[in-house]
Subunit: 421 residues, 2 copies
Amino acid sequence: MSPSQRKAEYDSCLAQYKNFQSQKLTINMSRGKPHAEQLAFSHEMLTAFSRGFTAEGGFLAEDGTDCRNYGGLYGIPEMKRLFAEILDVDPSSVTVGGNSSLNMMFDCVAAFRERIWDKKIKFICPVPGYDRHFAMCEYFDIEMIPVEMTEAGPDMDAVERLAADPSVAGMWCVPVFSNPQGYTYSDETVGRLAAMPAANPHFRLFWDNAYAVHHFRGERPRLLNIFAECARPENNRADRPLAFTSFSKISFAGSAVAAVAASPRNLSILRNRLKFQTVGPDKINQLTHARYFKNLSGVLAHMEKLADILRPKFETAEDIFTRRLGGTGIADWYTPDGGYFISFNTLDHCAKRTVALCAEAGVETTGAGATYPYGNDPRDRNIRIAPSYLTAGELRAALEVFCCAVRLAALELLNGEAYHA
Amino acid sequence: MSPSQRKAEYDSCLAQYKNFQSQKLTINMSRGKPHAEQLAFSHEMLTAFSRGFTAEGGFLAEDGTDCRNYGGLYGIPEMKRLFAEILDVDPSSVTVGGNSSLNMMFDCVAAFRERIWDKKIKFICPVPGYDRHFAMCEYFDIEMIPVEMTEAGPDMDAVERLAADPSVAGMWCVPVFSNPQGYTYSDETVGRLAAMPAANPHFRLFWDNAYAVHHFRGERPRLLNIFAECARPENNRADRPLAFTSFSKISFAGSAVAAVAASPRNLSILRNRLKFQTVGPDKINQLTHARYFKNLSGVLAHMEKLADILRPKFETAEDIFTRRLGGTGIADWYTPDGGYFISFNTLDHCAKRTVALCAEAGVETTGAGATYPYGNDPRDRNIRIAPSYLTAGELRAALEVFCCAVRLAALELLNGEAYHA
């Protein structure tokens, strides 16, 4: 485009933007929350106790634990088994917790910090990544070192170099449908994470498998088993991985059940804290989940219903992005086959401005920089798109505003306009 | 008694004990767990969602929060209000958590340790006291200083002296129906706890009001409001108390809802940790509790039903203790009007032996020493009796064995018999 063409394009884009502003929208696209339509698929769980759980053994878990009472600190057997199936591990390696896998990660980081790690440590943080992982590191004063993500997982050459630093004690991984890209780690990536030497003897992989069964298109992605890889005789690193997952985006986002799978040594470190920390998790909720979902097949059948709600939303995003921004060279994005997010890149130096323009037109997105440690996206270009919580109509409206904002921010930059923000 | 009378008494007691042993009992009287009969009074809660919660506003809390989804990190308004009524505070001072008040105490201790307190600190621990409080201090490497309990609460002269030590940063209090005695702090005790100077500027009272509504005889005990006392202009110590309570011994022991009440500064310290720690508590369970119990009157009406289950058990204990041990001078006990425990004292140096004798006859009690920091009862005489979990028949059988063991241990000591254990 010539400068005058760009000026014309800018004027037209600005007119469109002002039109959006006049609509006084208030749409929040910032968090990966399930829509009420998805949640409704689990209502039956809540009425389960009036529909005959008593006939199925009342409140007793398989091992005779009365789920209404104290006890069962590490989870009931049927829930351990269900998580073991999802995570592809032995039930004996599972500890079932409360409603939040994030809380279990927090507890594990706290336990390692209190009992194992040195005071000054660093974590490897694949970027763009999950803001709550990064926030947890900030809370615990753990220095974060970003490593670029690829479609096959984190840049393993960089990871291997960093692991040679003895102060590097951990690494965040979302191995399936990574947050926010939706990438799944390749066999080579998983193999190298298991095989690489780490200078810190207490180096741990925080394997946040939040989207283990969350494919909404095609087959469930195959993930190489990190536990099996680490346990290979030539690796002999059974203590390296701690895997986390939950039913938060399966049943009820705030009222689900979470678990961690880990080696006997890691479980013992966690459990030696849990037994001082709590009287135990909510076992009625565990029993309800275990009896309702029964096994992995039950979970996968349920996820198909949720996929039918989610898939069209991602298709809508793909469609609008392609129509509004395809071929312009001012944006790129990756639309995954599962998970909850789309990772979107503007031109360098345009993400903050885009987010601000969206906000001024009533559309709240995840903050620019949120996908980077310390909120610092060095190229200021990545924005996490979370389509799940919106209705089809809201999503269309929000994404039209978003695409207009992306164009406007890019044109401001290219035209040398002063930023308004 | 003459030595020969004591020998005859010992022989008769031993014969009785051997008879108990031959019955091969296996009764666990160690923990304060509610009996299934009590739990059954709350079954209706679990079927609530099939009986018309939808008509009462569906899954929306009063402030519009969808309880099925993420969000509402500090609790829904109706549950804050209910806890505020129980704790006699303003709802704005309440943070509602998950299922375990112990976990909230742990989180508060952790937060203060991470953000406020020095590394080497001490806690004042009224004794006999609650083993899980003491275990938490051990976990966090907080030195414990025991202070004797009286019927009016902890020995305040000793407490005031200790508070003059700048390394004393906290104190455990179970102000109503103390664990294990069942004493309730007098107005004078509460007033002095609020008024006393503390050398450590971050001195905190951990006010574990676990038995706030757990009277099973007579009126609900009046407790002076620790927040109001601390806030008096002449005291000006609003940050001193953190009060905890839960529905664990109201609804379901493992699946209830817990809360903390505290000053804005304390809440902010806790919340600034919670927001990194978790995606939020189980709000469906909060909504269920709030709608089922409605208000303090609803809770008190429910507690009357539970009282009818608990009262006869405490009466049974009182009756058997009086008949078997009354007037012997080898034991004393206090049978409270609420709470979950009886604090029982043997002769000095006889508690461990009594517990061992019970165990050898198939009756498990709370361990001797458990009611003291580091498990160290210097006089080896206190045993916590927990009658709630047993049926009437089991309780009678267990207490007969217990009384026999108390006599046998005392006679061994008085006769100079070698301990068997």
